[in-house]
Symmetry: C2
Subunit: 297 residues, 2 copies
Amino acid sequence: MNPGTNIVDPARLAQKYVDAVREEITRDSLKIRVLGLIATIDEPSLAYARATKKKFNNVGIDYDLQHVERLDLEKVILDANQDHTIHGIFVYYPVFQNQQDDYLRNQVNYRKDIEAGSIYWTQKLYTNDRHANTDSEQKALLPCTPLAIIKLLTEIGRYDENVERPINDKTVTIFNRSEVIGRPLAMMMSNDGARVYSFDINGPLLFKNAIPEETDITRAQALMESDIIITGVPSAKFKKISTSEFRDGTLCINFSSISNFEEDVQEHTDVFIPRVGPMTVAMCIRNTLRLYRNLHE
Amino acid sequence: MNPGTNIVDPARLAQKYVDAVREEITRDSLKIRVLGLIATIDEPSLAYARATKKKFNNVGIDYDLQHVERLDLEKVILDANQDHTIHGIFVYYPVFQNQQDDYLRNQVNYRKDIEAGSIYWTQKLYTNDRHANTDSEQKALLPCTPLAIIKLLTEIGRYDENVERPINDKTVTIFNRSEVIGRPLAMMMSNDGARVYSFDINGPLLFKNAIPEETDITRAQALMESDIIITGVPSAKFKKISTSEFRDGTLCINFSSISNFEEDVQEHTDVFIPRVGPMTVAMCIRNTLRLYRNLHE
């Protein structure tokens, strides 16, 4: 296999989801407004923010990108929660790079939390509560990045959403057990039939049928067993996964800002997805429409 | 001054608060029950848990200490939220040593959150909302450890709670800006008149009148300016504060599990408070009574 030929471009796979949102917004002439809040003046981050604005604009969503000082962010979020002309709020993290970022994430009212990263939504996932709220028959939102990873797998034919257990009997290893990505992803994939080894800096857990259990599996064992390896460790200290650590043909996905795989990974994988970002934004756009339909109209 | 003579024992200062709670519970024959949940089998942690149980028992509170597997903790908390015979829930952290601990902290219903460490209570502090809830004229709870530090200062005559600005014009440096201790403490002390330099691993902020602002002060400058230095960095990587870094007579408080000061600190301080724990437990006991009076009776 030629290097690079099995690398999946998430932007290409995201297009149909983005198109579907645009068609619905156009058809029904929806007026949806999102407030994007960025606290950094770091140019790559600003470029990323402008790119997301463009993606929202392209589907017909009014995306108001504002720079705010990080110390003003809480007040701006609380004001935006009260502003009935704003239907969604998107905050660019990291801001404080500590627990205060989690605090801020939970200041966004759930009706405007298009990333679905607040405890309101993740708790529904963890406690298997499928409803958007107690008054609603609408389905709960799912957090953007875990949902994006599942949609990428769906688009490449590895996750059949039409069957009861779309990823039955597959073994998955995930490096990252954050509350916004790694833990929800382990819950979702194990609920859909996979055995999921979930590693963080303190060790592994094994998720089966959306129930975590203790395990003493090693990194080496978990990787060698895996059909799918998913990484999201934004640290140079993480020992990059080398091709000798997994079986040829294993599907590899990296959602960290830095690659957690050695450079030659694509020569030994069935499919390599080096980044997830464009699908995450697509899911965010999709969540925006769902929140508008379910909780604003 | 002889080494050690100016070391304050927080247990001794906590006694009057504990006694006041015991008297009220005895006088009114209150039946209050707290559920203590510990997920570790580490013996020092268990010994600490048994010691806190004894302290609750000593004031007449029924303290049910239970060992639960960490993976069962969420369900046990959610069940305890529903159990009307339980008035307070105390969870021994760390459990997972990652964001999941913050998630768990926020699963405790605010009416039973005797540590006042959930976002429900800290948000009230950060947004200057003084009421326990929208139906109540009762005052909001304050998180235990920040409150404990202020009570220790009060007891040694450095925090006059009877005046409008109890710590007016004092300069304070705090190493720790966690959501449960360092940030609330900076808000509370600056609201009471102090200039507070708040350091975390990413740098400093300056709090004045409960409003944070950016600052480029260095550790060296902040320490030399300080009347009070408060540390809570549970990491061996933190460079311990040496006596050459602050003026003779500065009041020093350490609330970390490991001391963040060099060993000879007490020879150069006015007062050294090497630990806060016993006062924290006293404030927790006090919060338990307040929650019972305000939201359960």
